[in-house]
Structure formats: C-alpha cells, structure tokens
Amino acid sequence: MFVNFFHELKNANLPVSLREYLTLLEAMDKDIPNRKVEEFYYLSRSTLIKDEKNLDKFDQVFGHVFKGLETLESDEIAEIPEEWLKTLNEKFLTEEEKQKIESMGGWDKLMEELKKRLEEQEKRHEGGSKWIGTGGTSPYGSDGYNPEGVRIGQKENKNYKAVKVWDKREFKNLDKDVEIGTRNIKVALRRLRKFARDGAADTLDLPGTIKNTADKGYLDISLVPERRNKVKVLLFFDIGGSMDMHVKLCEELFSAAKTEFKNMESFYFHNCLYESVWKDNRRRHTEKIDTWDILHKYSSDYKVIFVGDASMSPYEITYPGGSVEHWNEEAGAEWLQRITDIYQNVIWINPVDTKHWEFTPSTQIISQIISDRMYPLTLDGLDKGMKELSRNK
C-alpha cells in the first residue's frame, strides 16, 4: 500500500525494516489513525523511526512522498478565492495594467510564472514553518490589488491553515550531522571504551563464590581482577592560525575526551606535525617535547587522534623547511608517516565541513598519508572515527 513511501525511506538511508512496515500496515488495518493525514503521519513516524536524530530526515521524505496531501477543510477554503479574486482583480486593475499583464503572456501565464516563483521561494526556505513574504523580491508591481499580492496572500493563508506538521521540521536540530555538544561527544567517544579485567585478582566475585560454594558444599571464595578501561589515547591538537575559528568545538571535544579516558596524553602542534610538540600552549617555545621521545615512550597499542583543519600550504607538509614557524629538517609528511607506521589506529578529526575538503590540497595530502582515515567533527564523523579506532587489525 505504501511500498513507494517505504522505499523512499530506505533510499534516504533511514534504518527501516520490513517488520516495521508490516507493523504499520497492521496498525492501519486496526484503524488507529482516524483517516486524517496528520494522524497517519504520527503513526508512521512512531512505527518506522526509532531515533530522534532521524526524525528530521523522515519529515523531509514524508513531505516529498505525500506532497500535495492535505486535509479536506483547508482545501475548501483554498478553492474559493482563486476565481473570486481573479474577478476582483480585473475589476480594480486599470486598462494599462491589464495590457501589461497581457504582454507578459496573459493572466494564466502570469499566474503560472508566479506559482513557479513561489515554489522556488519555498524550496529555498526548505519548507520552513513560516512562509516568507515576497513583496520586496517580486519583480511584479506591489500595489495592493495586483495579482501577485493577492496570490501570495492566499497562498500564505492556505499554507498557514494547513501548516503541515512534517513541513515544520521541528526536529531539525536533532539531526546527528548538525548538533554537537560536550555530552554528545562523550557518548560518541564512549564507543572507544573497552573494559577488561587485568592485573591482580583482588575483588570478590560474588556470583562465582556462591556457585562454587553451592557446588562444593563448603565456603569457597573466588576473586577476580577489577574491571578497568583499557583504552589508551594520544591526542594531537592543531592550535593557532586557521584553527582559531574552531576553538570552541575543539574545546568541547577536549573536555569530553578528558573525562572519558583515563590513559590520555594530549599534545599541541601547529598546522602539521614536525620534530617537536608541546603540552602547554603558553610556553610553546620553551618547553618543547621531541616527537621521537613520544614515539619511543608510548607503545604501539595507543590510539592516535589528530585534531586539525589540515588547511595549509602543501609545502608545509611535503618539503623539509616548509614550516611557517621554524626550520624543519624533515618534512611533515615523514613525521605523519612515522606515526601511521608505528600506531595501528590513527584517525584525523577535521572541524572543517566535509564539502570543503576536496578544494584544499593539503587536506587531500594528509588524508592520503593517513589512508583516508579523516573524519569531520560531527557526531556522525566522530562515531565513524571511533569505530575505526576500535578496530583491531
């Protein structure tokens, strides 16, 4: 019955399954929605969508598939004015204006044109909750009785009455590609946690003790090691220059990461990794740490996360002496290569929007060096990055 709708949802990469579709049909069969499109919308939403971050995508697909579907009452109101207003307009338009209209291809053509224009307008605003008036942008006249004015008014009215719930897109800011806050980051980072029992057996294993006691008939105490988070992380932050606009996002990421991992070491670098990094940005020139020391000190089971916009001149990566701040003996690319050789799990998190990546050569070079493990600083990107990091090779 709604196979088309179902396929559209599937095509929009929403996780819908046949089972949920059958549930929806079952609910339709039992007459749960009261033959009103809004109720059908609510029902299908609660049946097919199980995560608030997908609600916005669902609204868009629903609006697209059931375009033009509105409840009856609003249609009745919308039907009357078109003819009525037409006559009204003809009554009030001067001869001159009428001719102007004629020259543009007649009334119908004009209406058609206008309709198209209105649709464009709506599309640009992506069906927002409020219809934006076009008085100023219309190339047509703006006197009270001209067709555009009336048409617009009517359209607004119609839309307002029908304010389609799915067109309101209330859940836009829950879409996972958009919002990111400390708490959300924490949830994403939590993927990395890997608890393991390791070390001395010093905690009482209560179920084990009971089981053994019951089995043997005497008190037999068993102990297990405590559960600890085993994940170790090295964090490299790009700081200064083009990163300044992303400071807030990075701060959030950093504060979330700090509480999430026990074994986390963080270092700063500028633009690209070279032979030294620093821990405190205020004393970056006096207290430098040799990158070799880091490579020697932290074992290969550390997971490495770079955070940086990877936007610089390509020379800064590929040529010795390319750094903007000092003379580097070896090219940044070599240092990055060393890191990826030693550590299995390396990702680069980039606060710049993905769509700009292909226009920045340096981003592409770095992405190539770390074998395409670059992710945007969105929840989705973090999620994918964490998945990559927790992979065992």
């Binding site: 549930t23 749960i32 109720e39 029902l43 995560d51 609600l55 829950l174």
Partner: protein
C-alpha cells in the same frame, strides 16, 4: 479504549497516537526526550486514564534482565539446608518473581513501565527481546513456562545514555517528547496550578523561555523545573511586576535556584545580567 490525556497530563496529538498504537497492537512503546518532560509520568497517567494497574521496574546500572523474570535465591536455600528446614525440599520456595513475571500473571491487563532502560548494561535490551516479543519465558529450576494471560502494555523510557540495539528498536513504537511550545506549556501550567494568576504565568513563561535561550547554558531548565519554580513564586507571593522589572537592580529572576541547577550556569547568568546592567547604566 483510547488514551486522550488526563486532567493532570496534557498529551499532544502525536503522543496520543503513539500510545494508542502501542496499546492496540500490543507492542512496547519507547519514550525518549529531554529530562523533565514527563516520560515517567506518562506511564502513570496512562494507567490512570485506562484504569489499568501499573507495575514499575526501575533500571539501574547493575540491573540484569534475568532479575525482571525471576531470581533463584541460592544463599537462603543453602542456609536452610544446613538448618534442616523443611522448605528446602521444594525449589519453588526459593524462586523470587521479578516484575515481568508479576505483569504476566496479573489478573487485569497491566501497564509495565521499564524506567530508564539505558542505565543498564548494553546487552540488557537484547536479553529481553524474546520475553517482550512472545510475552513468555521459561523457568529452568521448576521446568515451567510462564506465559502472559493478557499481554501487558509495555512503556519503556530512555535518556539516551546508550544506543539501543536495532533488533530491539524494530519491535517498539517510538515517541520523542519534544520540549513543549509556549502554548502547550501554558496548558500544562494551567493543569498543575489552576489558581495561578494568568499574568504571573505569562510573565514567568517569558522569563523561562528567555533563560532557555541564553547561549552556552549547560543544563536548560525543563518543564518540571518550571513547575517547581511557579510553586515557589506562588508561595512567596511574588508579584508579576517583579518578574518584568528589567531595569536596574534585579536582572536575575527571583528564586532562580529552582531553574538553574548548576553553579556555572548561575555564574554565567549573573555575568550576563551584570553586563546588561552596565549597558543600561
């Protein structure tokens, strides 16, 4: 049997449909939303409206799925056996029923609230799949199958601390309680404090939404905090005019402690208030 909200609970249309779908099709209903938007209260109100008994199962980080079915109390049995108690002969004496069992055996069709399912271990929902789907489980100790006579209405709440497994989600209806707009909010306030002066309500709602819009605030005040605050305002008999006083001395709303629960937020707000005052002066 239709749920239409109650006199103490304003249910939006989408919520009503989700509840009715879950009740009619006998599938669990998963409720998510900001803290304090009335997720847990919903189950209580549905139980009141549909006159069904409510069985609540609060989930903690240590809760295991098995505890909802039954627990076998081996320690008591061991002790009884050493004391030579007669009870020890029958293993049934040591099986403790869980909430699910209780719900399955209830005479009337009950509502089972599984509260804050995301607090438990990540495997917890998967362990309950079969039980919630078929509404039956097997007790190994006594070799019997417990089957629900009347399938309970299952309402599950989650605070989004953990992702729930897909297989589990596929079996549920889902509803996200979004934060009420000011119109719905006025209705909610009206239901809770019918005697409150309407002027006070609109003034305080204004302050409330302004506060929610302060950029960088860590914990946005929610419905339940607004209701607490109104109660305090009424108790102290604060005049609506006092809330409107935006000029000099008090830019911080009176009794703000009920709304802001985090000292960083209070500091942030005080700082903003200070800046605003300086601009005005």
């Amino acid at each position: 049997m239709k749920f239409e909200g109650t006199k103490d609970y304003i249910a939006t249309e989408d919520l009503r449909i989700a509840v009715n779908a879950a009740v009619t099709l006998e599938r669990p209903l998963l409720i998510k939303g900001e803290p304090g938007t009335g997720k847990t209260v919903l189950a209580e109100e549905v139980s009141k409206a549909l006159k069904m008994p409510l069985i609540t199962w609060h989930i903690k980080s240590t809760t295991k799925a098995q505890q909802g079915l039954y627990e076998y109390d081996a320690i008591t049995r061991l002790r009884d056996s050493q004391l030579g108690d007669e009870k020890v002969k029958d293993i049934k004496n040591y099986i403790k029923q869980g909430k699910l069992w209780e719900a399955f055996e209830s005479d009337e069709r009950p509502i089972l609230l599984i509260d804050e399912i995301d607090k438990a271990d990540i495997e917890f929902p998967n362990d309950l799949l079969q039980e919630l789907d078929r509404m039956e489980f097997f007790v190994y100790e006594t070799n019997e199958t417990i089957k629900a006579a009347k399938r309970p209405v299952v309402i599950i709440t989650s605070n989004n601390e953990k992702e729930l497994p897909d297989a589990f989600l596929r079996r549920c209806f889902f509803h996200y309680i979004s934060f009420p707009d000011s119109e719905t909010m006025e209705k909610i306030v009206d239901v809770h404090y019918p005697k409150i002066k309407s002027k006070l309500v609109s003034e305080s709602l204004k302050v409330f939404y302004e506060l929610r819009d302060v950029p960088g605030i860590k914990k946005k005040p929610s419905t339940s905090e607004l209701l607490d605050w109104l109660k305090l305002l009424m108790n102290e008999d604060i005049k609506p005019e006092m809330l409107r006083e935006k000029n000099a001395s008090n830019l911080i709303p009176p009794l703000h402690g009920a709304l802001l629960k985090n000292e960083q937020d209070v500091h942030l707000f005080e700082r903003l208030a200070f800046l605003a005052r300086r601009e005005n002066g």
